[in-house]
């Protein structure tokens, strides 16, 4: 798929390029309060991904036409810093960041109690500092923590993870090579306390069995990441 011939992403013992087994998540660490002027903020480091999310509001929604009389709207802006990848990214909104902003807003709106703040908006800014595959998942996860840190009432936090397929083997939490040269990618947004889904995308093809396997990997990974999110919010080592 990548066009560079056959990149061997996983060896015969099931060891991956970064030394993980196929069901292992990259190391995740989260901290809150990294943007002191924001109402809430969080930074997630997930493998080589580095992502900061800041939340402002609720505030009056501008322009007027985006206001909803019965609820608040989430104004999500996902952006990759120009220096976040080896190829420089042209600054500004593009097709991809627009799409990710939209799916992120929809995923988060299903947990935030928006009806408490009619006519207002909650501004969520997600900035990718360093990208290594799965930035939309890192963005959604960081945004959930930032919303919680801002004290915005929400029924649960969204944990987002992507699993996929490389050389016909299903692997958990794709890294850069696996994302580039692999065959499929399945990002999911999971509510860890109930196991509900609020976000699901698929890129590539998976057989029903492989889909189930990727699904299970995502569910397991979500638990690990949720632990770290809760630890970050509670500020201690429990």
């Amino acid at each position: 798929m990548g066009g560079y011939g056959d990149v061997q992403c996983i060896d015969e013992n099931g060891m991956r390029l970064d030394g993980r087994t196929k069901d292992e998540v990259r190391p995740v660490s989260i901290e809150t309060g990294v943007v002191p002027v924001a109402d809430g903020s969080a930074r997630i480091r997930w493998g080589l991904n580095d992502c900061i999310a800041a939340v402002y509001g609720p505030m009056e929604a501008h322009p007027r036409k985006i206001q909803r009389q019965d609820r608040a709207v989430l104004d999500v802006r996902y952006n990759m810093a120009p220096f976040s990848t080896t190829d420089r990214i042209r600054p500004g909104f593009n097709r991809r960041s627009r799409e990710i902003s939209k799916v992120t807003a929809e995923a988060l709106e299903s947990v935030v109690l928006t009806e408490l703040y009619p006519r207002s908006k909650i501004r969520v800014e997600i900035e990718i500092i360093c990208a290594e595959a799965g930035t939309r998942c890192a963005g959604i996860t960081a945004a959930s923590v930032a919303l919680a840190h801002a004290g915005i009432p929400m029924t649960d936090m969204v944990v987002s993870v992507a699993s996929g397929k490389v050389h016909d083997i299903v692997v958990c939490d794709l890294n850069k090579e696996e994302d580039n040269y692999g065959e499929a990618d399945l990002p999911m947004g999971i509510l860890p306390n109930t196991g509900e889904l609020v976000f699901l995308q698929m890129d590539g093809d998976l057989s029903p069995e492989q889909f189930q396997q990727a699904w299970d990997y995502n569910m397991e990974a979500a638990e690990v990441i949720h632990k770290e999110m809760v630890r970050a919010l509670k500020g201690g080592d429990e």
Binding site: D39, G40, G57, P58, M59, E60, Q69, V111, L113, Y117, P118, R119, S120, A148, H149, A150, G151, I152, P153, M154, T155, D156, M157, L191, P192, N193, M229, V230, L233, K234, G235, G236, E238
Partner: protein, 236 residues
């Protein structure tokens, strides 16, 4: 917050009676949004808690309290939402010929009509009465269903703030600032010889001589630090 050998009041005396007041003495239980807090049949859902499918779920990050059969969360951070009769400190953000727009820290600017303002102005002279950037002490008159609110300056003690300093704290910390029966606030006023007006939106007007204001401000900052330490279990 690791159980066992922590030196807490209830751990130090050898006799831990089975039904002693242990529950209330435990270190604060911190929760994150989505945490399960128990069966909704057993307890009432208070602030920051919602009953979903027979279970109580946390909506906010903060400390869980369980008093009188009601489970509630004292949040770590809150946004101010205006309610009628709240005393607030606002800043004038803009005006038309007969209305001021006031930032009271909520999601929306409140309006202050000329009829509820401090004095009548001639046509075109509204900024001579209250100019953009002025701080005012006002009261929320009404909050409409769509959350837009009207404030008034008709009432005892309501005025434009022309001296002193305005500090901001999170609204949920006002309870600590005021204390039981207003004790802490009275003490603060006596110690610093300052006029201290705590608005419900978390803005606190301090007025007095410079040394007093600085002293009062330091005390407020100490309160904020203290609240932060309490939130994180008291060991940091």
């Amino acid at each position: 917050m690791k159980g066992g050998s922590v030196a807490r009041l209830d751990n130090m005396s050898g006799d831990n009676g089975a039904d002693g007041p242990r529950r209330s003495r435990q270190a604060p239980l911190l929760v994150a949004p989505g945490d399960d807090l128990g069966d909704s049949g057993e307890y009432e859902a208070g602030h920051g808690v919602l009953a979903i499918n027979g279970r109580l779920r946390a909506l906010k990050q903060g400390r869980m309290n369980n008093r009188g059969g009601t489970v509630s969360i004292e949040p770590r951070r809150t946004a101010y939402v205006p309610r009628p009769s709240d005393l607030v400190v606002g800043y004038i953000e803009g005006c038309t010929s007969n209305i001021w727009f006031v930032d009271i820290g909520g999601p929306f600017n409140a309006i202050l009509p000329m009829s509820l303002g401090p004095s009548k102005a001639e046509f075109g002279g509204i900024r001579k009465v209250l100019d953009i950037g002025d701080a005012i002490l006002c009261r929320v008159q009404e909050v409409e269903e769509n959350h837009s609110s009207v404030v008034t300056m008709k009432g005892m003690g309501l005025r434009a703030i022309r001296s002193g300093s305005v500090e901001e704290i999170d609204p949920h910390l006002l309870g600590r600032l005021i204390g039981r029966g207003g004790n802490n606030l009275r003490q603060l006023k006596e110690d610093t010889e300052c006029r201290v007006v705590a608005g419900d939106n978390g803005r606190v007007w301090l007025d007095g001589d410079l040394a007093g204001i600085i002293n009062a401000r330091d005390r407020l900052n100490a309160l904020l630090t203290e609240a932060k330490i309490d939130d994180f279990g008291g060991d940091v």
